[in-house]
Amino acid sequence: MDVDTRNMTPTNLIDKIVVPGDVVLDLTKMENQTIKLGSGLRQDCDCISVLQAGKLRLSKPNKYWVESSQKRYVPSLEDTVLGIVVEHRSDNFLVDIKAPNLAFLPVLAFEGGTRRNIPKFETGTLIYARVVKANGIMNPELSCTDASGKAAEFGQLKNGYMFETSTGLARMLLSSPTCPVLEALGKKISFETAVGFNGRVWVNASSPDDVILVSNAIMRSEFLSGTQQRIMAEKLLQRLEKV
């Protein structure tokens, strides 16, 4: 049993499912190289070991990470997330983004925000924002403007329907080229969506039937391949046209 694992080279674990404790890189064999570690990996003296179970990925030349899908979210810089306002303090909104800590959204972090025109968000308001500060220790900070200070679609999302998904499905919906299920639905229905990296999706369309159809199609598409997603979306669309 032990003999098999002795002669594994790093390429053998790439694109394989790894569990916490697996050693994926031996740093003593790689000198004068810079490697970048993404989520799910940590450096343990002379080796890189796995923190979370998932698929090990390599993006050439030197970026390694573990792809896994969870119900909770670990904030990282420049992610766009959907948050729900929990409280309004004097200089921040406290926003829940499914992270270990509540996020702060400064009251002035809006386009043209001054002390005189502070938005009035009640508890329960859905906000589309961008993460501007995220380390493991402090509460993450959000902003409703892009890097140049413009509003750019950030802010409150009104009407529509929000549902929660895993982080893996959210990443798939945000991948480029466009996710097959969204493409297939977009050909027949006009709708708008906002997808947060933290596993929340908001859908809005002109009629409630369309909103329900799009939401169900997205929720079902998590583990399907591209072709299966298109077939599933077409079946759902046919049902609506019959009625």
């Binding site: 002795r6 790093p10 697996d22 050693v23 890189l25």
Partner: protein, 242 residues
Amino acid sequence: MEDRTDGRNANQLRPLGCSRTILNRAHGSARWSQGNTIVLAAVYGPKAGTKKGENPEKASFEVIWKPKTGQIGKQEREYEMILKRTLQSICLVNVHPNTTTSVIVQVVGDDGSLLPCAINASCAALVDAGIPMKHLAVSISCGLMEEGSIILDLTKSEEEKLKAFAYLVFPNSPLSVIDKVHSSKEEPIEHGIITSVSYGAMPVSGYFDCLERGRAASAAISEFLRRSLQKQSSEDASRAAQ
């Protein structure tokens, strides 16, 4: 060698079963069964804030043990404490300081080896929730018979009859790209031990025999856990397509 009541030989484990992501609302969940001993574990967290006596520079763990019947008493509190210490030692507590992760353990069936089954279930649930861990924990029960032989994975009737038995928790055997020959001067990680709970009086040699047998058997459980973690992702695809 005496025959065991269910026909197993001394080194044979009961059939293992593991399924993950079975609870909708929990952030991570797992159900682990060893024969008729079945335990369901759910993980919530990390959530903000720590309890009063805990160190805010580390993540803290809270374990709630729910027995199948009856009120919560000292036995349950003891299990909670053992489980909490075990989980704290396998998880990385510096990644999310000032947070609390709750693990709720529900006993569905009890036919001996309850604590090892609960530890295995909690470990699988923590993996499901994506809590950062140093390695996995694999747990097994070993009993010492009258004449000095060891039996593994005890049932309830065997636990009641034996003079002494122990629950042992070992780290799992990791896959490694490092050539083990080069690092042979260090002990491999699976030679460590995380937790040991012993009941009854046994001689020192008997205890070390238990450790040896338990460690050897933990490799099989570790392999089973790895396979069930790998299989889960392909099963999800077929389950969702229905």
